[in-house]
Amino acid sequence: MTAAAPTADRLLARVRELLAAHPPATTGRAAFLSARFDAGLAWVHYPEGLGGLGAPRSLQAVVDAELEAAGAPDNDPRRIGIGLGMAAPTILAYGTEEQKRRFLRPLWLGEEVWCQLFSEPGAGSDLAALGTRAVRDGEDDGDWVVDGQKVWTSSAHTARWAILIARTDPALPKHQGITYFLCDMTAPGVEVRPLRQITGEAEFNEVFLTGVRIPDAHRLGEVGQGWAVARTTLMNERVSIGGMRIPREGGMIAPVAAAWRERPELRTPDLHQRLLELWVEAEVARLTGERLRQQLAQGQPGPEGSGMKLTFARLNQEISGLEVELLGEEGLLYEDWTLRRPEIVDFTGRDAGYRYLRAKGNSIEGGTSEILLNIVAERVLGLPAEPRDDKDLAWKDLAR
């Protein structure tokens, strides 16, 4: 390998070499994914030896498209989304060499599923107020002992590892006393309980941590620097939520438009006007996302990224609400209230009632719409923050 960053042509040549040496038709899934990682084609912008080639991030799309066209197996990104979208970029940014070598490969292969132990019953939008404690047992390189409760943990019931933030110094202001860990979900003291939601499903979990021991080698970043590390995770979370490409009339608008065309008996003038407004807004949202991707591809990321999640949350809720109404008597029914624990969250599948209820979470998960509006107002528009009296106060003295 040369030191210069690989070009699109060179990456495509490498993809073809990979496909020639490991024909997807005759190569097992795990073998193919291993070979892809070793060829540096997992995440092209990662360093060599860690699944990448130090190429520009924008070239990943070129590689993905070529592999998809060749029918290559993928690593089921929806099942391991938290690992791919949040744990991996954070480990890459803050991990030791040993941590990167230990964790990135099995993560990418999907052998090890990750979950995220951030939110707590008392700390949601005010995430930095979290109260889960990590106390060191002994001297500088001693184990950490963790006690607390986390909530809204998707994939906890299938995860092998978790990214975890915990309070290591309650005497400091809330943002300063936090440390970031990689937590073994099979360690004694980790208990996962299903959390049933308004859809009837238990797609999330509560996780109780009781005397869980984490070796200091599984700390990510410096002691007390956990908030800075967590911000890397959160930034990547929002990017991965807003960045999906959809075709015209894709996403939530598709089933309601199809129902409109196929079932003329359901049509009313009022529903027609509302459907057209939402169809237009969905098309504009698609174009806005496309414009954002074009800016990213040119290396000039625009602030529109902060907005896509807000837009999709509102549209998903309005469109699915309209769809329930359009269905009339059928809209009074619900498919199935049985408690299930799905491995994959299906936002657009299932019936309209499920979509309506599940979409309520879109404006809460991954940052509430209210918090995101504050972020847009302060970071994009430069408006002043509201006066706050919690920033310099020791965590232990905060009102709870």
């Binding site: 057209l276 237009v280 698609r286 806005t288 074009q294 209210e370 504050n374 107002a377 528009l381």
Partner: protein
């Protein structure tokens, strides 16, 4: 799904387009700031001929849609859209949409020697030409036929709500026998100014009483040319609406960062921040919609009529919302004649009627996307 497939669109601005924007913006800053617009709107001549000369001829903006062989810039809708964004940002009283877009597109659709001669004049900025059609005329709507040819090109009739007729040198008149170029000062032509809601785009009623003109096209060609021009005009109007909305957002944010009440900047109150953040989202989305329309028109995309209808259905509302928020969040200051907010509110509201309302364009979306009415 059965709606037309989406073509790949270039939704960004090119370097050339950014250079054009810089040139137009600095001209407008020098000759058309809000104080200058306020000073002119109540006078006899809201348009500034010197501003028009530099914009049209100096920068070459008037000929962006005209091919080079006819003396134009041979550019396209993407570039014209950038000019309109800037004119919208300045609420500039300039006959760009009427002369450089609508009339120009109609003349391009005529493909006659006479229309080519007139295009050369328009592209060079030597003359201003506006279609004698109501500003509310929408793509897809039936064309009105108020003008009769009583024989040998003697035209009679009257057309209301003709934008920029007052400053026009030439009127494009659709009669039952075809399309005519009628000099605005010809015998039998009179223009009665109307008191318009939008002070920056003057309206007039055009009366023809046995006026003579040059015939440019037969009725079928004329109608097709006008239909194409209305589509382009509606698509590019979205960029003007984007510019209006952008000015309103930027000014309001700037004001609320410095205006103190209750011993804090007003912009630090969450109730206000959320309104502005939502407005910013709307403007960012309007930019994508307006760029999509300009690009679809520039490339002659098969689904351009749908993309234009989407842009108009969306951007009209954003411009009005932005202007209304601008007035409201400026408080009492926003209600005064001295502050320019009202110019933008009036322009935004008038624009929401121009070239088809949002409701009309949603109706077009229903046709294109096959979402039939009950």
């Amino acid at each position: 799904m059965s709606s037309p497939a989406a073509a790949p669109l270039d939704l960004l601005y090119s370097e050339t387009e950014e250079e054009l924007r810089t040139a137009v913006r600095s001209l407008l800053a020098a000759r058309c700031d809000s104080a200058a617009v306020l000073a002119r709107i109540e006078g006899a001549e809201p348009h500034d001929p010197e501003l028009w000369r530099v914009l049209a001829a100096g920068i070459g903006a008037a000929g962006l849609l005209v091919p080079e062989k006819l003396g134009g810039q041979g550019a396209g809708h993407r570039e014209a859209a950038v000019v309109l964004e800037e004119l919208g940002r300045a609420a500039a009283p300039a006959p760009y949409l009427t002369s450089s877009v609508l009339a120009t597109e109609i003349l391009l659709g005529c493909e006659s020697a006479e229309s080519a001669d007139l295009l050369r004049e328009l592209a060079a900025g030597r003359r201003i030409c506006v279609p004698a059609l109501p500003l509310t005329l929408a793509p897809g709507a039936p064309l009105p036929a108020p003008v009769r040819d009583s024989g040998a090109g003697s035209l009679s009739g009257s057309v209301g709500s003709v934008a920029d007729a007052v400053c026009a040198d030439v009127l494009l008149v659709l009669a039952d026998t075809g399309l005519y170029a009628v000099p605005a000062d010809a015998a039998g032509v009179s223009r009665t100014p109307l008191v318009a809601l939008d002070l920056t785009r003057p309206l007039a009623t055009v009366h023809l009483d046995g006026a003579a003109g040059t015939r440019l096209a037969d009725p079928a060609t004329a109608r097709a040319a006008i239909a194409g021009a209305l589509l382009s005009g509606a698509g590019l109007l979205a960029s003007e609406q984007l510019g209006i909305a952008e000015w309103c957002l930027t000014e309001t944010v700037a004001y609320l960062r410095t205006r103190h009440q209750f011993n804090r900047p007003l912009g630090s109150f969450q109730a206000i921040k959320h309104r502005l953040a939502r407005l910013w989202l709307d403007v960012a989305s309007a930019r994508a919609a307006a760029r999509a329309a300009a690009d679809a028109l520039a490339t002659g995309a098969a689904d351009a009529p749908l993309t234009v209808a989407v842009a108009q259905a969306y951007c009209s509302g954003v411009a009005v919302r932005a202007a209304e928020e601008c007035v409201q969040l400026h408080g009492g200051i926003g209600m005064t004649w001295e502050h320019p907010a009202h110019l933008y509110l009036k322009r935004a509201k008038a624009d929401s009627l121009a070239l088809g309302t949002a409701g009309h364009h949603r109706g077009l979306v229903a046709d294109f996307a096959e979402l039939a009415a009950p």
